[in-house]
Symmetry: C2
Subunit: 446 residues, 2 copies
C-alpha cells in the first residue's frame, strides 16, 4: 500500500488535477472551500472535485486533498473559537463553502467531551485522565450527522437534488433529517424486515423509504446498480458517490476533542471500527492540527474497537496480517457489523504506526460496558459505545492502554436506539404495593 502521508492532504497547491469522465464540468465551478482535489489513497493520482469515489487508474479509494489555510496558528485558533458551536467552526478545514453555517442544515457537532472520573475510578485510570466524547448529543443522536452534513454540501455543489443511502439504522435517520431540513428529496433503502422502531425513525422525516426484499448486502448491491442507471440520475448516495466528502466529517471529532482538551492532543484514543473510515479520518484530523500548528506535536496512540461477532480487523491485527479477511457478522453491535470493512488495511496501518492496537469484546461485555458507563457517568450509549468502553477496560487489563495518560473514548450513538441490547437484563429493583411497610420490607429504606 502506497501512502503519501501529510503531503497528500495538507498545505499544498493543486497541479492541474485530472478531470475524470464522471466529474467533468464540475471542476472550476465547484466551491467546496479548502477542498482542492480528490486524490487516490493508493496511487496518489489527483482528480477534479466531483461525485466520484474510485481512482480511474488503480481503482483505489479517493479522498479529499486540501489547500489548508497557511499562516498564523493563533489567528486561525481565534477564528475557530469565535465560530458557531457546531462542526462549522472548523469550516476552514472542511470540504464546504465558507458560508456553510448560513445554509439550512442540522448544524451537528460540538458535542460534549465528558471528564469521566467515576468511570476512571472503576477502570483504574488516574483522575482527570479519562474522557468520553459523547456523540449521542448530535441532532439525530449519532455521529452520522457529522458525515451527512458534509455529503449534503457536496450534493449541493454537484447539483444533486436527492440524497440517498442504504442503511440499517443511524444513517437512515441522519439522511432523512438532513434532507428534510435542506429541502432535498430523500430516498433511503433498508432491508424490508428491520425492527419497527428503526423503520419509524427512518420514515418520520417524510422522505421516500424503500424496503428491499433481501439482506443488507442485497440492498447495497441494488444501490450500486441504481447509481449507474438513469433512474438514479441526480442522486447523491452519501456513502457511495459522495463518500470522499462524507467521510471527511469524522475529522471534526478530532478537532473537537483537541479543542475541548485546551488545544492539546490526547495521548490515547479508543475508536469503534465499522468500515474503519471514522478511525482513519480522526487520525487525518489530528495530523492536520499538528501540521497547522494548532496543537503541539507529540506521539499519540490510536486503538480500534470491534465486537467479537464482527472482528475482522481485530483478527488481522492480532494475526499480524496486512489484509483483512471478511467475516459474516453476528453481534448485537449492529452499527459496527460490517464484515468486510473498506478501510480495514488503513486502520491496521494506523494502529501499528501509532503504537496502538485493535481489540474486540463479546456481546456480554458490550452490555456490561453500556451499563457501566450509564451507572458511572449518566451516559446511555449505543452498543457501539459499549464496544469502545468494553475494549478500553480490556486494553487496560492487558497493559496495552496506559491508565496514567490522557485517554478519549468515543461513544458514537444513543442507547435509546438499541434498547433491545440491555432490555432483557435491565428492570426495576423491586415492585411493591404503595405502602411504607412494603417499602421497608423490600429493604429500600436506609
Amino acid at each position: 500500500m502506497r501512502r503519501k502521508g501529510l503531503a497528500s492532504m495538507a498545505v499544498q497547491t493543486v497541479d492541474t488535477p485530472r478531470t475524470p469522465g464522471t466529474g467533468e464540468g464540475h471542476g472550476p465551478a465547484v466551491d467546496l472551500g479548502p477542498a482542492a482535489a480528490l486524490s487516490c489513497r493508493e496511487c496518489g493520482e489527483r482528480f477534479a472535485l466531483g461525485p466520484i469515489f474510485a481512482c480511474e487508474l488503480c481503482f483505489g479509494p479517493l479522498e479529499v486533498a486540501y489547500d489548508l489555510p497557511a499562516g498564523d496558528p493563533e489567528a486561525l485558533r481565534a477564528r475557530i473559537e469565535a465560530g458557531p458551536t457546531s462542526i462549522w467552526r472548523y469550516a476552514p478545514l472542511l470540504p464546504v463553502p465558507a458560508d456553510v453555517a448560513e445554509r439550512p442544515n442540522l448544524n451537528p457537532g460540538w458535542t460534549k467531551l465528558v471528564r469521566a472520573d467515576n468511570l476512571a475510578r472503576e477502570l483504574g485510570v488516574e483522575p482527570g485522565k479519562l474522557h468520553i466524547k459523547d456523540d449521542s448529543g448530535n441532532p439525530t443522536h449519532s455521529f452520522k450527522d457529522r458525515v451527512v452534513a458534509q455529503a449534503l454540501e457536496a450534493a449541493r455543489a454537484f447539483g444533486f437534488t436527492t440524497l440517498s443511502c442504504s442503511s440499517t439504522g443511524n444513517l437512515a435517520g441522519a439522511v432523512g433529517a438532513a434532507a428534510a431540513r435542506a429541502g432535498f428529496r430523500s430516498c433511503v433503502f433498508i432491508p424490508h424486515d428491520l425492527e419497527q422502531g428503526k423503520v419509524v425513525m427512518a420514515a418520520v422525516y417524510g422522505g421516500e423509504l424503500v424496503g428491499i426484499e433481501g439482506t443488507y448486502d442485497d440492498v447495497n448491491r441494488f444501490c450500486s446498480e441504481l447509481i449507474g442507471d438513469p433512474a438514479g440520475e441526480g442522486w447523491g448516495f452519501v456513502n457511495v458517490n459522495l463518500r470522499p466528502y462524507y467521510a471527511e466529517g469524522s475529522k471534526t471529532l478530532a478537532y473537537e476533542i483537541c479543542e475541548q482538551l485546551g488545544w492539546r492532543l490526547p495521548d490515547q484514543l479508543v475508536i469503534p471500527i465499522a468500515s474503519g473510515s471514522q478511525l482513519t479520518k480522526i487520525d487525518k484530523g489530528l495530523r492536520e492540527l499538528i501540521e497547522l500548528g494548532l496543537v503541539e506535536e507529540k506521539p499519540y496512540k490510536i486503538f480500534g474497537a470491534q465486537a467479537e461477532g464482527c472482528s475482522p480487523v481485530s483478527a488481522a491485527f492480532k494475526a499480524g496480517h496486512d489484509v483483512v479477511r471478511p467475516q459474516k457478522p453476528d453481534t448485537i453491535a449492529k452499527s459496527l457489523a460490517i464484515g468486510n470493512p473498506a478501510d480495514g488495511p488503513y486502520v491496521l496501518d494506523i494502529a501499528r504506526r501509532t503504537g496502538g492496537a485493535v481489540e474486540d469484546v463479546n456481546d456480554e461485555q458490550v452490555v456490561a460496558a453500556i451499563k457501566l458507563l450509564a451507572r458511572t457517568e449518566g451516559i446511555f450509549a449505543e452498543t457501539a459505545g459499549g464496544v469502545t468502553v468494553g475494549v478500553t477496560r480490556k486494553l487496560i487489563e492487558a497493559g496495552l492502554l496506559d491508565p496514567t495518560l490522557t485517554t478519549v473514548v468515543l461513544n458514537t450513538g444513543d442507547g435509546l436506539k438499541t434498547l433491545d441490547a440491555v432490555a432483557p437484563t435491565t428492570g426495576p429493583t423491586a415492585t411493591i404495593r404503595p405502602s411504607l411497610d412494603a417499602f421497608r420490607a423490600a429493604g429500600l429504606a436506609h
Copy 2:
C-alpha cells in the same frame, strides 16, 4: 391570588427571612449563589433557603427570591457569553453556587434555536420569524435535565445523598442519569405497568427503580408519605421538597432563547403546559432579563399549549375562569398529562396579562404536527412538541398568533421516546425486490 410582581424576584435585599422548622439550620450556611430566600407566591412571606415547598402561613407554593447581580448589563452579558455552552453560563441568575460548572453534573442546556423557514412557509409565517427551541438536544433528551440540574445543587447544599422522584418517563431518566454522574444514590418510583422501553430508560443508570402497584396518582401519594417518614430521610425529591429550586431550571429556556435571538425578546412564545411550571418560569426569566437590562423591554405574548385529552387550563382560559377544574387525562401526550396542574392559575394569569392565549389540539393533530415538524425541519419531536406545533398552527388560523412577528415554539422532548405515537401511520413508501425494474414499477424513479 396576590402577586408581588418583579419586586418579589429581582434586585432586592432580604429582610431577615423566617426560618421554618423544616429548614432550620440551613439558612446562613447554604450557598446557592444569588438565591436569597424562598418567598410565598401567594402571601409573599419569606423563608430561609431550605428543603421546603409550601408556605407555613397560607400553604401557598414557595419560589426562589434572588439578590440578582446589579450593575453594568454589558459586563454581565460579556460574562455570560464567555461562560460554558450549557445552562451554567447563566449561573449568576440561578440558585446554584458560582463553581457549579466544576461539579460533576450533566451540563444540560444551550440547545439549538432552529430558524424554521420551511415550517414557517407551511404555516404562513413570514420567513425568518419562526424558531423552534429544540430541547431534545439535552443529555437525556428532554428539558427535564435543566430542572434536575438545579435540584441536584439544592440537594448537595442541604446535605441530601439520595435523589428521588415519581415519574412516568422523562423525569425518571433525567434523575437517574444526573444522580449517577454526581455520585448520588437515586430511587425513582414508577407505575409498575409502564412500557418496557420507559422502564429500561429509567433503570439503565443503575439507581433503585421501584415499580408501584397502582396508578401514577398512587405513586405520587406514596412519595408524599415517604417524605414525612424516617424511611425517606436524607432524600431529595426533585419535584416535591426540592421543587422551588428544581422549577427555576426552566428560566434557562428564556435566557437561551433571548441570547440566541441576539439578546432580544421574542414577540410570541408557544409553551406546553403540564403542571404549568415551565411556562411561569419562562415568564419569570424574561422579566429578569428586562429588569437586569440584558434585553430591551417590549411587550411579548405567551401562549400555552395542551392536548385536548388533558386540557384543564385551556378549558378554563376559554371559559374565562380563574380556577382550573381538574380533568382525568386521556391523550397520547403523556408527558403533559397532568389533570390538576399546580401552576394552572398562574398560567391563566400570564396568558391574559401578556395578551396570549391557551389552546389545545386533539391526538390526531398532535401526530400530524410531529410529522410536519420532522418533514420540514428534520426535528423528530416528542408528543409534547406535536402539541406546541399543532397549537401554533391553530392559533395562526384563528388569528390569535401574528405570523409577521418573531415567534418561538418549544419542543421539550424527543420523538425516540414516544415512537408509539407515530408508529401506526409511519412506514416505508414501498417494499420491492432488489431490481431496477421493480424500482421503476413502484414509481420511485424520477
